[in-house]
């Protein structure tokens, strides 16, 4: 996983509630087994007309937001399908950070495993950042995960909370599986106890 480093980038406002992962990347684009290249289909049906031309009104089609690296989003962003193509598409487009009041659980976990930072903040602060994000080319936020700070276009600093382990993993680009193997003995010991306590568990070993 790539390391998360401090950056300053354009933030785009997406205030709608319940933006589901089918909207982030429709199912017909799940036929690829590649993680790269999904960015061109990000928000496909919100972003393009059926003839492939861009929808003028869509935020990421507007000149100021074409290279947005931050999305300030409405409640429950990422709800629905567990498809990890959603963070893959966001990441491939260039999005590094999402800010909202709350995110769907599975999407939240999937994103952090792909080097993206999801920041949860109280509604009044998200509302203020949403206003910042409407400033077009001036909608620039600095995201500093080390210091847990967002610097607004007016220079004001907003602190945020983040799970310390996720922070550590993001900053160092650490992979979960390698870390979990540090607990291999605990896992083995659990498994041996479990085997004897529930003798009725069937085995599905391939024949």
């Amino acid at each position: 996983m790539r390391k998360f480093t401090t950056f300053t980038g354009v933030a785009a406002p997406m205030p709608a509630q319940n933006i589901d992962t089918d909207k982030v990347i429709p199912a017909r684009f799940l036929k690829t087994i590649e993680r790269k290249g999904l960015g061109k289909h990000l928000f496909n049906d919100m972003r393009y007309n059926t003839d492939g031309t861009e929808k003028e009104g869509f935020i990421l089609n507007q000149p100021a937001y074409r290279n947005a690296e931050v999305l300030v989003v409405g409640d429950n962003f990422g709800c629905g399908s567990s498809r990890e193509h959603a963070p893959w598409a966001l990441s491939d487009f260039g999005v590094k950070c999402l800010i909202g009041t709350d995110f769907a659980d599975i999407f939240f976990n999937n994103s952090s495993k792909n080097g993206m930072l999801l920041i949860k903040l109280p509604k009044p602060i998200v509302d203020a950042l949403m206003e910042d994000a409407k400033l077009g080319a001036n909608a620039r936020l600095t995201i500093d995960l080390e210091a847990q700070e967002i610097t607004r276009p007016n220079g004001e600093v907003v602190k945020f909370e983040v799970d310390p382990f996720k922070r550590h993993s993001l900053l160092n680009g650490l992979d979960d599986i390698g870390l979990t193997f540090k607990n291999k003995e605990d896992i083995t010991s659990y498994e041996s106890k479990d085997g004897s306590s529930r003798p009725w568990m069937p085995s599905l070993a391939a024949e």
């Binding site: 205030p15 709608a16 509630q17 319940n18 589901d20 089918d22 909207k23 429709p26 199912a27 017909r28 799940l30 036929k31 690829t32 087994i33 993680r35 049906d45 059926t50 409640d75 429950n76 709800c79 629905g80 399908s81 567990s82 498809r83 990890e84 963070p87 709350d102 769907a104 659980d105 599975i106 999407f107 976990n109 999937n110 495993k113 792909n114 799970d163 310390p164 382990f165 979960d176 599986i177 979990t180 193997f181 607990n183 605990d186 896992i187 659990y190 498994e191 479990d194 529930r198 003798p199 009725w200 568990m201 069937p202 085995s203 599905l204 070993a205 391939a206 024949e207």
Partner: protein, 468 residues
């Protein structure tokens, strides 16, 4: 200290608690489908095996055709490639896989309980958000993403933050014509699509207790549509009766010990929940969604909201956006919404009881619009055929298909045309879910059958169910 059902299962599966609140949980069953290529690729890259293939089961359900049991029927080369890789990966890693040619094939969330593999007290995960279905067995079951699939393959564990506990009580008794699907649609309408974010739901109350296992699975299946991490129902006699004799159920010699253990899987009487929700089941009516979020539903006797009457600007804009996509006027009577197509099936409503409920409405009547019925599994299909349901559907003009996810997710090419209104027993009415521009109305199997007969949503209670 008194504990909830969810806490008991969580504690029993805790391997390590970390200072930051993350717990390393042991996974009992890992179900995987064609979307697992990333997980298998990650194993290959790291040169790791599947840690516990005997606790892993593969199911080809998302990408496979429902028109044939032959992989050569897949004409899209990309889809074919995804399916082929799944067959090859499961074989290479020693994971048992139910392909479309298997007699036990089906949608993963239908097959687990049907085979008696999904049992009370287990932790079950799958790279699919509707994994919460298995919670109906009294298990803690939840969907995970592709990176987590890789993690479970490699370690048979998962790091998770402990969710909060929510109890949803549905009291009273349901009126005739009201199904489990109507119950869960009413719950989601009440608490919202994000209403259970961060929570594991336990459903209880006389209505839930009175549901069959199939009905309970329908309810737990859609927990994710309220944002919940998981949904579950404490096991009882209904659960034990359902499990007994299934292939994966305990042998007679082990059964008493297993049942004694399962009987302890109840929330303690004085256990506390972070959030409680209550519905009066007697007030519920058949439901249908009018919008593009599962929370945008109404009783079929009611109307879609009129945005002009809504004060909150955000909500007004949300409703207007949904109505525009759906091609509906604010305030339209739900029963009057036209229907162009019907889909009966999915992990929400593809079980035998669902097909019986739809057949009882369709019997001796004629569909006005194209309709397909895709059984949730091949055992469901055989059972239905043994009961003559396939003939009832065929005679009524409903197309009888093979098992698979089909029009619920639309990956395999089973789609509706732009602008079409679909009466669907699936779980998501998101924009474009059943095809670009397609308009999905979620409802129960009986309601979907009634809608197909009328070419509009109507009210299923206008049709007397016929004896099968």
């Amino acid at each position: 200290m008194p504990r909830t059902l969810f806490e008991k299962i969580w504690d029993a599966h805790t391997i390590v608690d970390r200072d930051d609140g993350q717990t390393l949980l042991a996974v009992d069953w890992h179900f995987c489908h064609e979307g697992s290529f990333h997980g298998f690729n990650a194993l290959t890259e790291a040169k790791l095996p599947v840690r516990r293939p005997e606790r892993t089961l593969g199911m080809a359900d998302h990408y496979v055709p429902t028109t044939s049991r032959d992989l050569n029927a897949i004409d899209n080369p990309e889809i074919r490639s995804v399916v082929d890789q799944f067959y090859a990966n499961t074989e290479r890693f020693g994971v048992r896989m139910l392909g479309i040619e298997d007699k036990d094939h089906g949608i993963v969330h239908v097959v687990g309980p049907e085979q008696g593999i999904s049992q009370p007290g287990l932790i079950i995960v799958c790279g699919d958000s509707h994994t919460s279905t298995h919670g109906a067995m009294g298990a803690m079951a939840f969907g995970i993403g592709a990176s987590e699939v890789a993690h479970v393959f490699a370690t048979q564990t998962l790091w998770q933050a402990r969710p909060k506990a929510m109890r949803v009580t549905v009291a009273g008794a349901l009126q005739a014509g009201v199904a489990a699907k109507d119950v869960i649609l009413a719950i989601i309408r009440q608490i919202g699509a994000g209403g259970a974010l961060g929570h594991a739901i336990e459903y209880d109350g006389s209505v839930i207790r009175g549901l069959s296992m199939e009905g309970r699975m329908t309810v737990c299946n859609m927990s994710i549509e309220a944002g919940a991490r998981a949904g579950m129902i404490a096991p009882d006699k209904t659960t034990f009766d359902y499990l007994k004799g299934r292939p994966g159920a305990p042998d007679p010699a082990d059964w008493p010990a297993a049942e004694a253990f399962w009987r302890g899987l109840q929330s303690d009487p004085d256990a506390t929940f972070d959030t409680t929700v209550r519905l009066d089941g007697g007030l519920l009516e058949p439901m249908a969604t009018w919008g593009t979020s599962p929370e945008e539903g109404a009783a079929v006797s009611g109307r879609a909201p009129d945005p002009r009457e809504i004060d909150d600007a955000d909500r007004r804009a949300q409703f207007q956006g949904s109505l525009d996509y759906m091609g509906l006027n604010g305030g339209v009577a739900i029963a009057d919404i036209p229907i162009d197509r019907a889909f009966i099936g999915s992990c929400t409503n593809g079980r035998i009881e669902d097909l019986r409920a739809a057949a009882a409405i369709a019997k001796g009547r004629q569909a006005k619009v194209p309709a397909i019925v895709a059984p949730g599994s091949m055992p469901v299909k055989r059972q239905a055929e043994a009961e003559g349901l396939d003939r009832i559907f065929n005679d009524a003009g409903f197309e009888w298909r093979e098992s698979g996810c089909s029009m619920c997710v639309g990956i395999n090419g089973d789609l509706a045309a732009p602008g079409e209104h679909v009466a669907s027993t699936s779980n998501r009415n998101f924009k474009g879910r059943q095809g670009q521009g397609a308009r999905t109305h979620l409802m129960s199997p009986a309601s979907a059958a009634a809608a197909a007969l009328q070419g509009r949503i109507g009210d299923v209670r206008d049709f007397a169910p016929r004896a099968l």
